[in-house]
Amino acid sequence: MAENGAKATVTLTIDGVEVTVPSGTRVIEAAEHVGVVVPRYCYHPGIPTRPAQCRMCLVEVEGRPKLEPSCTLQAADDMVVNTASDTARTARQSVIEFLLVNHPLDCPICDAAGQCMLQDYAYVTNQLESRVDEPKRIMGRDRISDDILYFADRCVICTRCVRFMRDVAEDDSLIVAQRGDKAYIDTFPGRELDNPFQGNIVDVCPVGALVHEDFVFKARSWDMDATASVCPGCPTGCNVTIDTKENQIVRVKPRHNAAVNSWWMCDYGRKHLVMTNRGVRAEVPLIRDGGGDGDDGGELRPVDWATALDWVAEKVAALGAPGGSAVVSPDASNENLFYLRTLLDRLGVADAAFRVPQGETAELPTVPTLKLRADRAANAAGAGFFGGRRADGPPDGPAGGALVVLDDELEGAGEDFGGSADFFLYLGTRLPGPARNADAVLPIATFAEMDGTFTNFENRVQRFHQALRPPGLARPGWMVLSRVLARLGDGEAVNDVRGAFERMAAQAPAFAGLTWDGIGLKGAPAAGSAAEAAGVAGPAEAGA
């Protein structure tokens, strides 16, 4: 904006490095451009209000008598900022010392230890000994919602949680009660938070004051592995990080993506993601080849992969293109759907029904793209790309020809589902009752157990990565299907998702021009989609 001759950018010096930023940028953000993360508590890039109340981000500005809070200080031309001068350091040290006066220092049992901004800054400011003789104030712990606990003694009253609720979720039910050293976070006496996005207050808490109850005492931060992934709960496709320990998902956190979920995600998504990876799974390939011990030879029997794949490929080759039908899960990845479509085309099966469970919607008022959508599936858009047809009601098998099911749990299907098909192939993560009618069951990995992509509601293609080892012999669907096809002389067996994605991009128009590496961790719009034009660049990632 050139209004009143205002410049579009300003150039300033931070810690000796010159940097040019859009005018209006705060110094704390400008500093991130030169790789300096100024310590902060109350400032959070996703929360619009900046009370400048923690005083942790004070920096020295040449020519100004007093230190300035860099979270509210606007960058200006010729400003010379020093974030690490002696005065700035001393000020920070005093803030930390004050915070530690009443802090319980229960890091050994605190779930934030290792990922705690109080711990980090206390180390950085080198506070090894306390000068406090007085006993500490003790406040205890409280329940903020059905699944969030509040450890009041650890709280640094940065009010991030309160301001997330008030300014981002527009829900005025979390507040600071009392004041001074008696202050704590509270709801109205006898009431609890009840907001579909409240879980985010745990993520914004810079210390261990707010903790999800199902995470308490579960894992130390240094024992967890973090994997970039995408929430499969609904077509929004919030970017998330899955924290795992010993091949178990212990925590899910939102991962910043300005074009999709900003810094947040919904509570349904967190729970759903954990649940989809629990329960009894299909772990071994099963075929009904007349072999085995059974007298009639008509039983499903467990076999190794090579036997199963050979047998399935033989069957498919023998069938030719008999037609038939397919039922696919709208939670399947693009790659799985692509390979399945290739197989279906070979079998002459045009129709692939997918059924999308429905649920209540919820919006985060200040983030228009983030909405828990009624469709409770990750990849309905992808299913649509590969000739899927949205269907309601229980699936029914074809009268003859081939029947292929990709990870639909076949709820509502009759007892003899698929009985009249010439060949019934079931690829699934689990083994629901009607799937036992199949001629072959191929166990596949859940999205958390493999690499792949989903297409979100705006046709944005987003990558997820393997966070867990699949159980038993289960393998990614694309890996399995590429092997069936390879046995039929169609393409190569792929072991790496890049290969699967490459073939998909080469053959499926919606993915034309996309590459696995090019999509990156923030996703990219599918070819010709509305989102392609929008192209949003995310702001700097650093320092939540």
Binding site: D172, S173, Q178, F188, P189
Partner: protein, 186 residues
């Protein structure tokens, strides 16, 4: 209890009323409550701004502010009960616990301290048979220590409900307590 009242003093209540009557029940359903609310709202651009006077009014009528009152105030002002709770707890002079009919606040800040305020305080506690902050068995008294009441020229200063007693000496305390108990002027 319905009188016209100037909006400027809408949160205040004359001494006699608070000392003699305590109201229990939904406040904004009474004539007085409706009138106070209306007067307060006429004074400010937003409903939220009327929060402090309305909490003051509740306290002057009931002696303290309990959660049910906060809900009532919240509804009257289109706020969440949680927000009202945060404001009510931020200010220490809103009582969040019940107090006796005579709420005695003894200033123990510098001037008063130099004029035997501690003795006055202990005398009040002894005469009423309470510890600080407690309600006496007969429900008549709660005695607490207060910071400067802004009348340092007349130390020791004691505030009983909304009324100031000046130049209080330990010797005057028994008489004051007796008068209050008897429903007379202290």
């Amino acid at each position: 209890m319905s009188r016209r009242i100037h909006p400027a003093v809408v949160g205040a209540q004359p001494f006699q009323l608070t000392a003699r009557e305590r109201f229990d029940g939904p406040i904004f359903e009474t004539e007085e409550g409706k009138h106070r609310l209306e007067a307060a709202l006429s004074r400010y651009p937003t409903k939220q701004a009327a929060l402090l006077p309305m909490l003051g009014f509740v306290q002057s009528v009931k002696g303290w502010i309990e959660p049910a009152d906060m809900v009532e105030v919240a509804e009257a002002l289109d706020l969440t009960p949680a927000y009202v709770h945060s404001i009510a707890t931020f200010y220490t002079m809103y009582n969040k616990h019940p107090v006796g009919r005579h709420f005695v606040q003894v200033c123990t800040n510098i001037s008063c301290h130099l004029n035997r305020a501690e003795e006055v305080l202990h005398r009040f506690l002894a005469e009423t048979g309470t510890r600080e902050g407690e309600i006496s068995d007969d429900g008549e008294f709660t005695v607490i220590e207060a910071e400067c009441l802004g009348a340092c020229g007349f130390a020791t200063v004691v505030q009983v409900n909304d009324r100031y007693l000046e130049d209080v000496t330990p010797d005057r305390v028994p008489g004051i307590v007796e008068n209050l108990r008897g429903g007379r002027d202290p």
